[in-house]
Amino acid sequence: MSLFLWIPLLVPAACAAAAATRRQARWTRPLGLVSALVILVTGLGLLGSITAAGGEASTRQVTCSGSMRSRHTCS
């Protein structure tokens, strides 16, 4: 499940870096749309995972499997 949290962060960041370093390349133009689609698909995946697991416990699970967890939260 943590993939659904990391992918929508890393893909747009990588696209931003690619577009900034290859500013005149034609292939950089659709990178914004690619990032948006990745965020949409992973968002749907995350919503599906939460629904399948059901309610509060699963939301906590998502939070605890995420990248920004605190050391107090998920021990």
Partner: protein, 408 residues
Amino acid sequence: MTIGAVATVALWADLSVPAEPDGWFTALVCAFLAAMTLAVLADNLGVLWVAIEATTITTAFLVGYRSGRRSLEAAWKYVVLGSVGVAIAFLGIVVLYAATRSAGHPTLSWVELVRLAPQLDPAVTRLGIALATLGFATKAGLAPMHSWLPDAHSQAPAPVSGLMSGVLLSVALYAVLRLRTISGLALGPGFMRGLLLVLGVLSLLVAATLTLTQRDYKRLLAYSSIEHMGLMAVGVAIGGTLATTAVLVHILGHGLVKSAMFVQSGRILRAEGSSKVADVVGLSARRPDLAGPLLLGTAALLGFPPFVLFFTEVAIIIAGWAAGLAPVMLIVLALLLLTFIGMSRQVLAMTLGPAPDRSVDDSTVARLPRKAQAPVTVALGAAVAAGLVALPAAAALGAAVTGLGVTP
């Protein structure tokens, strides 16, 4: 998901117009998307603040991208007011951290803050929550800290306006929604309800009065954003499962429709060369390809069925009524009616008004190809579908609301 859906509409529409590749623009848009995603995924108030500050930096460059005098002025205004807002929010977060420290468990984790909330010092928590809410409300475009919004949204390139109105404001409101949960557990529902009702109703009042007198259609859309954020703030103030679910769906519906409308307004601006309502009258006779989506999108924004915003607005009003806020709901309804009158008057003048005498023969102007119309059509279709699937998706929405720990 909402960030992805709204960004897809705005950026797909931008791609459908032939243009030279512009690496800086793409890089800034991608960085903006990454920052917004980080803000909603972070389980930490500090990380959320950093992400929202990052959205201010990226969008400041995007607002001033045209480098004209007015766009640079709008960018500076946005930077100054946005920075003041996030600075106030930072102060609130520091005070909130101090409250958790005095409770013997220093943390900024959302989950830990919810767990610790009943043990927090009420006076310190009240100060921290109030400052953080006012700071994030500035980024959400709520009155009286809204003055950056019409300038920034009207001067930014159309896809950026769509992204800012459709998701940036909602990301800031999401922070307020989470603060409300902590406030409800630490201070009871009254404090945050009062604060958000004042901000929400004031935003609706500002939007209603300025929509009635507005003569620029891009600024009209910006005031419509203030109206919708005000309504959503009222929904967050009401709390409870129904109102919060309605707010979450409203965020999606408003984002889809508003991004489509900003895309459409950008096309009208490119075709007509003016953003003044008086300069683009009679569009339905001259350019039905531009007038049709504009009329449909306006109907969606004004809450006509079967668009999803109709169902969410009704749900927020019903939830408010059930929560014993009938007088406030009557005021909200009256202000929504005023905005309805102001906005429909301007858009009807643009679309159905008499066509002016023009030197250019509009019948020779190239119509938009179907491919270019697809993003707007898909967005408006999705706004209808979202209303129809809201009931079957109630389980997922309920899980999301439960995850936010919403209290009445």
